[in-house]
Symmetry: C2
């Protein structure tokens, strides 16, 4: 990221009024930007307009920036059409793969000197304008793809859009982007999907023992198959490369477990497990891996008002809650609230809560 | 589970004063049961006694029940020793594999007619008596292994222990247990570990794009390698069988992505993704998959007291919070609280919170 004199003044044209397009529209409208919405479906378009995400196009529109928010496999053709229709506009997109659309665009003879690939790392499980929200991108990374031939005027304009929506621009090459999302998004999706598939047809008895581990591993397996067929198909070379390395390790583990008492077997297994420890430790952020915060587990009775009282008393102690996980088993009369706070206040908070009668469980 | 006339009167002898043993001790002591603690390490033993998990053994101890809480690969030999030392006692254990210890016990000539395999599905990331807590088992399933030759007197006594600790006894065969935990615990562990291993040596740029998906998939990869070498080694046949099926599916996906434009390729991929959807839908419980609850997303300013105010007002509305996830990006001035409540109250709660000035984001 570097500073830029580009300012987003508008109008901004958003093509595709689904979750991302409508959220961009809502976010820009909140800043008073003139947003022109377009969608192949008149019903979708009118819904997004009703939600306040922008206005219908007019024949004399001359947008400075066009944001293409259509499914990955339509992205290149829609970007090409927009580049042709608005010969002075910078055109960007939000597709979660970046090499394939650029290759397709270059092959089509489009004026790619005004195209800046983009990818906001944001989304929701539910799609459509109906799920859109102005704050969808707040605090999220948003990749802006740089190319040596690309003028800063165009990338700067896209970064202004990103900043106006509260997101953090992250500059990457097109190839660097696809390799990165293959690793942190596309392969985890497949790993999760294939694990979840093993649960099909399993016994009720086994499912009854499912705990937080298998829940976490399989959560993203609930994602939309149609979208993911497009994403994975468009980023196949990067994804396959990582999957092959994954399969090699899997073969090692299968070999070890075929004869777990063979010399060296336990050591091989321990090395795989230790490498997993090392890998997960690289991820910054929340939920178990976040060493910036200290955790406190408090028992909370399962009735209205109890959590409120807990949070009120944390607030009264002047402590800011950094993260929170709630856990309670079906039918249990008590829940566990795992509270993350800055390490320097955890002891004081623990003491204050204990004084107020809370049961601290760890 | 069926009713039983067995009553847990004590004394109960707990062998191994680590996390599970000391937690069992604390839970039983809270009910006034006489708990005899034993550990190969005098330091561990004294620590657990200091924590109030029980007392030191005496020469005339005659426990009705012995609970062996040692690592999986020591379980059979310690159970055999306890069966021999206390010829009238029922002996159970907490190892997370059940076939291997039973096979080893039978081969040793021990009196297995008094041995009941057990496995509480509970644990914490941190180990040792120092992390023990009396409520560790509350609401958790605890497998009690049945065998045709086993008297109800013995299984009933173990089920009394389980119930006294607030856990839910789940009867299974030894083989059924190992197949079940292979599917919902051991294979997910490996799938997560191998994914996390891919992150070792990856670019900072890629790691910076890591979102909740890869965090969830890799969370359990932070588990203790030494313990998991034992667990996986002891349950190798069940684990390998599932891993082979997983690898077959992985090979299919790799084949498809090697040539994603081949006829039928997208359909194969869509079928894998849809099967993942079907698998994850089988898991009951929280976080995304729980269709028993409706979700509401509320924007919360990132400062002390704001969450407290939110929860207080949810309580004032008379609504019980079923689950909660908090999310905020580093540096963002705002967080998102995803609230799960019973579907019949979600609209009313949304209206009431909106009236009180909360911004509802979805």
């Amino acid at each position: 990221m570097n500073d830029s004199t580009a300012r987003l003044t508008g109008p901004v044209r958003v093509v595709g009024a689904g979750l991302l397009g409508a959220s961009i529209g809502l976010g820009l409208r909140a800043h008073g930007v003139d947003v022109i919405l377009s969608d192949a479906s008149p019903a979708n378009l009118n819904l997004a307009i009703d939600y306040g995400a922008g206005r219908a196009p007019r024949p004399d529109d001359a947008p400075a920036l066009v944001v293409v928010c259509v499914p990955p496999d339509l992205t290149a053709s829609v970007v090409a059409a927009e580049l042709a229709a608005f010969p002075n506009a910078t055109v960007t997109d939000v597709a979660s793969v970046k090499v394939a659309p650029l290759t397709e665009l270059e092959a089509s003879g489009a004026d790619t000197s005004r195209y800046v690939g983009g990818h906001p790392l944001a989304g929701r499980e539910r799609g459509g304008a109906i799920s859109a929200r102005a704050d969808l991108f707040i605090g999220r990374p948003w990749v802006v793809c740089t190319r040596p031939d690309l003028s800063r005027r165009h990338t700067g304009l896209v970064e202004s859009l990103v900043l106006d929506l509260g997101a953090a621009p992250v500059e990457m090459t097109t190839v660097g982007h696809d390799a990165s999302v293959a690793l942190v998004s596309h392969v985890p999706q497949l790993v999760s999907t294939l694990m979840a598939k093993r649960l099909v047809g399993s016994s009720e008895q086994a499912i009854a023992l499912a705990g937080q581990g298998v829940r976490d591993v399989t959560r993203v397996a609930a994602s939309d198959p149609e979208l993911w067929v497009q994403i994975l198909g468009s980023n196949a070379p990067s994804v396959v490369q990582i999957l092959r390395a994954y399969r090699d390790d899997l073969d090692t583990v299968i070999g070890v477990l075929d004869d777990p008492t063979a010399p060296g077997a336990r050591r091989s297994l321990a090395e795989e497990l230790a490498a997993g420890n090392a890998g997960v430790a690289r991820i910054p952020g929340k939920h178990g891996q976040d060493r910036r915060f200290a955790q406190l587990v408090v028992l909370v009775d399962d009735r209205p008002g109890e959590l409120a009282r807990l949070f009120a008393e944390i607030g009264e102690a002047g402590v800011n809650l950094e993260d929170l996980r709630l856990e309670h088993s079906p039918g249990a009369q008590i829940g566990l609230a795992e509270i993350s706070v800055l390490p320097e206040v955890v002891q004081r908070l623990s003491d204050e809560l204990a004084e107020r009668g809370w049961r601290i469980a760890g």
